[in-house]
Structure formats: C-alpha cells, structure tokens
C-alpha cells in the first residue's frame, strides 16, 4: 500500500552540536520533520526551547530574488519552467562563507538593473553611475549586461544560504532541554521509512545519540508513484489519509479523467491540451508546483481525445465540415446535436422509440454518477472493514442493497413486472434495516436515526442528478465551438475582398477557439473537482491522518536533489 507510517526518533545532542547537525540534515536532502514537543501534551510545557539565535534576513532574500528573476528568461511559457540552478550542499556552505562579497555583488546588480530600467523610461540616464557600477562589478569578473551561468549559480547558492537560515530557525524553535538536564538538548525527528536507514547512518556518523520512539499521533507518509501522484493531490486537498483508510487515488484517476473528458468533450481541444502539457512534462523542466496540475491535464486531455472522437466533436464541427470528414467520422458513436446523423447510437435510438441522443446521454451521465457513488459506498465498506467497524459495514451494505432494490423496483415497473415483488420485498427488509442497524441507543434514537437515513435517499437522488452536468457542460463547449466556426464562415462569405476575408476569418477562428478552450478548460476542471469533493469523496473519505510535514530540503533558487539522485 502507498500509505506508511513514519519513523520517529528522539535525538540527544550537546548545545554546540545543534546547528551543525540541523544544517547537515537539511542539506543532506533527506526529508525529515522536526516535531513540536508541545503537541505531546501538558506535562511537556515545563521544557524550555532553545533561544532563537539564527538571524533571518528577509529583505536581503527579496533583493536576491529580484536580481535572479531579472536574469531569467521571460514570457508566459517560461514561467512554467524551473529555472533553478543545479548545485550541491557544499556550494551553499561556500556561499555562506563568502556572504560579504556576494552581498556587494547582488546589491550592485540590483542598483544596475534599477538604473537601467530608469534609462529605458523617461528619467535622466545616469551613464556615469552605470559605468561606475560596471567597473566595481568587473573586480568580481561579473558583467551586469549578461550574467554568466556560473555567476547565476553562485547567486542562487547565496539565495539558498539565506533560505537555509530560515529553515534553521524553524528547526531551532522545536529543540528543547529539560530542567534536570539543561546542557543536553533533545529533539523529536520524524522521517519517511524509505530514508530511515540513511538517516540513522548520518546520525551515527555525526556521533549523535538517538532512539526510536512512539509519537502520540501516527504520522503518515502518503505516496503514489508517477502519474498517480497528480490524482493523490486531488484527494489530499480534502485531508490526509490515515492508515485505516483505503487509498482512493486509483478510483480518482479513473473517474476524474473521465469526468474531465465529458466536460471538455472535444477531441481537438483534448489533443491541444495533452500536447501542451506533455511538452512541458517530458521535454522541459517543469516547476515543482505545476507538476501535478500538468499531469492531471495531460492524462485528462488524452481521455478527452477519445471521448471527443466518440462524440464526433472536433473543435465543434470544424473537421466535420472539412475534407477530413470521412477520417474523423470513423470514430463516431453518437452525435448529440444532429439526431439524424448515421452514428451507431443515433440510428439505434431512432429505431427504438426515437429518444433524442441528448436525453440518452443525460441518462448515461446519471448512470456514470450511479457507478461513481456506488464505488464510494464500496470504498466506505472496505474502510470500515479495515478499521474493524462492523456496525458501519453492515449499515453501508444494508444501504447499498436498499438503493439497489429501489432502483430494481423502479426498473421492473416498466420492464419486468414479475420481478416487482422480490425487489419490493428487499426494499421493505433493508428499509427496516435502516431503522434497526443505526447507532441509536433506544427506540426513539433508532426511529430518529432511521428517519435520518431515509432522508438521505433524497440526497442520493440529488447526487445522481448532479452528474448530468457532465453532458451539459460538455455540450456548452461543443456548441460554442460550432458557433465560432459558423461566425468565421459568415465573415469569410460576407467580405468580398479576396485575401482580407481569409485573414479575418482565420483570426475569428483562432481567437474564438482560444477563448472557448480557456473557458471550457475552466469548467472541465472545476466540475469534476466538485463532483469529487461534494458527491464522491464524502461517502468514504475522512482524511483524519497527520501528514509528515517535512522540512523542505528544496531551495526555491537552487536544486540540490539533482545531486542526491
């Protein structure tokens, strides 16, 4: 399973070893959390924590950041790319030793950039001042007009050393000593089991005493590999799983991509999205905080291509009105907007009672919702089995049978009346179960609990109806896309000047589709998220776990992990 408990250690160290040890741990790249002893309870309030002596210079940090940003490639697309320099722990420590030199360099660079901006504006250009700064910087072999990669790296390392101070001060806040033994300092550390060996080895090498202890709470490391991590992120916004819960990541990965695909619902849009995200994921170094969302969009985009092709939506009807028509129509199963289309499902519906394809698809989306919600019930049953809560398990099983029997009764009314009696009997039995099995202590409690359970039935049908949004939202993007195509066509036909009409039509086409794609993307992201957070996940997910909040060994301007890999 992808949910494991973290190891917790109590470390004993003399006072003069504290900073050195913390620094080594942070720079080692091993993710660890330093735990707050106050979380342990009242009796620990007697301890005294280390006085915070690490000086944190946030203003300097801002200046360094500004300078580094100024020398980065610019543009919307570049803003997704990770421009951190690759460095090592040693370089950070060296930068810290060379603090004063680096400070001068950065401040001069900042002044230079400031003056240069002035010059480009309307202010009085101060050529001599610029020259002066240039000559000062030349002492350090730095040309402010274009920063060499090695200098960029040096300044990044300086930035990292300033960030290291912040991390150190965070660590120091939680190191403590007791009255009885005021020269020895203690700290609780928690690390991922994967790196526990390496962590212990490091402590042994530093000759630090440590022992494995039980922390009062279970600290959880929740990890899914590769593409699944993006879907774990969806669940994680609701809370962290604990070891007794079932990891919903796999089911989220199936449903989220499917819902997204229905909401976007267009093959070309899906293709554009997948290519855009795939390019950044596989050919560029993507920033860490964008990785999950790009992965999410990449996989969802791929599924959208499939769903869009099945629905015969290619940038609306763009390809259907083009010579590519025979190729794209191979894939179509249903055409929502054109009931007379030769698509398989349309023909079938026409021959069997003439239901409109839109109505059929609305029904289908409700059915997908039914599967999604049943999946939620089953996950809840597994969770209650895992935590040996058999009462809840019975309750949920009873509820599932109740719902199934009600649906069976409704279905048998119109299709097979012979099955009506058995289904109705199950409804009655499980309906009684709703009253008997609930947690109420006495008769009044049981009755009230049962009525509450019955009331949930309304919630159940409201949940199912909510899934019809999949088709409604998908239809919106498709129809607006077709309208854009139509407008472009009208522009092309109504202007008589040969080349101009083509240019204007292409402009309408391009601008319109970009606009529609952005708006549709928004809806296609929000709506599946809502279905997960409101309809699906509350059925089983409680998120009571306590996640490992690791001290980040990652610096915002310098990438150390590159070397530790």
């Amino acid at each position: 399973m992808s949910v494991v408990l973290a190891n917790t250690y109590l470390i004993t160290t003399p006072i003069n070893g504290v900073d050195d040890l913390s620094q080594k741990l942070i720079l080692s790249g091993l993710q660890f959390e330093i735990l707050d002893p106050l979380e342990l309870g009242e009796e620990w309030s007697q301890i005294h924590t280390l006085e915070n002596k690490v000086e944190v210079n946030t203003k300097e940090l801002e200046i360094v950041d500004r300078v580094l940003t100024a020398y980065q490639p610019k543009g919307l697309l570049e803003s997704f790319v990770d421009h951190r320099a690759l460095g090592s722990a040693n370089e950070v420590l060296q930068a810290r030793d060379n603090k004063s030199d680096l400070k001068t360099i950065v401040h001069k660079l900042d002044q230079y950039l400031d003056l240069e901006n002035d010059e480009n504006g309307e202010g009085n250009p101060t050529k001599s001042a610029l020259e002066y700064i240039k000559s000062t910087l030349s002492k350090y072999n730095i040309n402010p007009e274009g920063l060499q990669p090695k200098d960029y790296k040096l300044i990044s390392a300086y930035h990292a050393s300033l960030e290291l101070d912040i991390k150190l001060s965070q660590v120091r806040e939680k190191i403590f000593s007791t009255k009885a033994n005021s020269n020895t300092y203690f700290a609780f550390f928690s690390v991922d089991k994967l790196v526990a060996k390496a962590f212990e080895k490091l402590l042994l090498k530093e000759k630090v005493n440590f022992e494995k202890v039980d922390w009062n709470k279970e600290i959880v490391v929740w990890r899914n590999k590769g593409g699944l991590s993006a879907f774990q992120g969806v669940a994680q916004s609701l809370g962290t799983i604990d070891t007794k819960e079932v990891d919903p990541t796999v089911s989220i990965s199936v449903f989220f991509t499917l819902f997204f695909a229905f909401c976007l619902g267009d093959a070309i849009y899906g293709l554009i999205l997948a290519i855009f995200c795939g390019y950044f994921l596989y050919f560029k170094k993507l920033k860490k905080n964008y990785q999950n969302i790009f992965r999410l969009f990449f996989y969802s985009g791929l599924v959208t291509v499939l769903i869009g092709a099945l629905q015969n939506s290619w940038a609306g009807d763009l390809l259907i009105n083009s010579p590519a028509r025979p190729f794209v129509e191979v894939f179509q199963i249903v055409d929502l907007l054109n009931p007379d289309s030769p698509a398989i499902l349309n023909v079938f519906l026409k021959e069997n009672g003439g239901i409109s394809p839109i109505v059929f698809m609305l029904g289908l989306s409700a059915f997908i919702g039914l599967i999604n919600i049943f999946c939620g019930y089953i996950l809840h049953m597994v969770t209650s089995l895992k935590s040996s809560d058999f009462g809840k398990f019975k309750m949920e099983l009873n509820w599932l049978l109740f719902i199934l029997a009600i649906l069976g009764t409704i279905a048998s009314l119109s299709f097979a009346e012979a099955l009506l009696t058995p289904f109705a009997a199950v409804v009655v039995i499980t309906g009684l179960g709703l009253f008997v099995l609930n947690e109420g202590k006495n008769i009044v409690g049981k009755i009230l609990g049962g009525l509450g359970n019955l009331y949930n039935l309304i919630g159940f049908f409201a949940d199912i109806l909510s899934y019809t949004r999949l088709i409604a939202v998908g239809l919106t993007s498709g129809i607006v896309a077709s309208v854009i195509n139509l407008l472009a066509k009208l522009v092309f036909e109504s202007i008589d000047i040969p080349v101009l009409n083509l240019v204007l039509a292409l402009l309408v086409l391009f601008g319109g589709h970009v606009f529609n794609l952005v708006v549709a993307l928004f809806g296609a992201y929000i709506n599946p998220l809502r279905l997960h957070y409101v309809e699906f996940m509350p059925k089983f997910f409680e998120g009571r776990g306590r996640a490992l909040k690791a001290v980040d060994s990652d610096f915002s301007r310098l990438n150390l992990n590159y070397h530790s890999k």
């Binding site: 839109i358 609305l362 129809i479 998220l529 809502r530 957070y533």
Partner: protein, 158 residues
C-alpha cells in the same frame, strides 16, 4: 417578421440578458473584493483571477442557449424556419429556466467567491476549498440549463 419569431427572440433576450446580468453581478462583487486583496499581495493575481472568473460561466450558459435559439429558428446561417405563435411562446418559456437560474446563481456565486478571497488571503493553500464552495452554486445554473436544453431539443418541434 412574424409574431412567433418575436416571441422566440424574447426568449433569446431572456437567456442571454439574464445570464449576462447574473455574471456581471457575480464577477463584479468578486473583483471588487479581489482588488482590495491585490493592493496588498499583487503576486496573488492568478488565484484572484481564477476566483473572479468563476461566476462568468452563467453568462456563457445564457449565451449558449441564445445561440441554440438562433440556430433552431434559422436566423444564424441556414434558412429561416416558419412556426406558429404557440411554438414561439414555447421557445420563450424554454429560456426562462436557464435565464432565471443563471441570473440568481451568478449573483449568489459571486458572493460566495468574494468570501473565498478571505481564504486566499490567509490560507492560500486552501484555495481549492474556496473554489469548491463557490462551485456548489454552479449546479443550480446547470440544472436550469439542463431543463432548458431538454425543452428546446426534445420538447419543442419546429
């Protein structure tokens, strides 16, 4: 132009107009609170924009339905259809669910998203919660749209 077409155009006016009013009210209230937040933390512009854009879908739903009416009665490309007054009135009626639902849900969603700015200001990592709370209200616009779509595609024969 016959009276039936005028009825249908009233339907168009209701769906597009009401949808746009709802979105305007909604986006307006989010944006005005967002501007206050941006004065202190301009780097949060993308997140503020995402929240402010939430209530804009109502206008889109209204617009979508307007286009559907236009294509159904053949005023946007194709040949103009002829239909009786009752059908025109039916088209007018079919636009009321989406129009009214979008008008009110847009304004309400704006309120919810505006309050979400507080989450963004203090706990930006919980932005998704603010978005989900506001997205709850989206459902009601979608319900209106679903019924209107059913009416115009299935209920009304031209």
């Amino acid at each position: 132009m016959s009276l039936s077409v005028v009825f249908a155009l009233f339907g168009l006016a209701i769906s597009v107009g009401f949808g746009a009013i709802g979105s305007a009210l909604g986006v307006g209230s989010v944006a005005s609170i967002g501007a206050g937040l941006l004065s202190k933390e301009p780097q949060k512009f993308p997140q503020v924009l995402a929240l402010a854009a939430l209530p804009s879908t109502q206008a889109l739903y209204g617009l979508l339905f307007g286009f559907i009416i236009l294509t159904r009665i053949g005023l946007l490309g194709g040949t103009a259809q002829t239909f009786d007054d009752a059908t025109g009135l039916a088209i007018l009626a079919s636009s009321i669910p989406v129009g009214v639902a979008c008008l009110i849900s847009g304004a309400a969603q704006g309120k919810a998203a505006a309050s979400g700015m507080k989450i963004l200001a203090e706990k930006p990592q919980n932005l998704s919660q603010a978005i989900v709370l506001a997205a709850l209200i989206e459902s009601f616009a979608v319900f209106g749209l679903v019924i209107s779509l059913l009416l115009i595609f299935v209920g009304i024969k031209i």
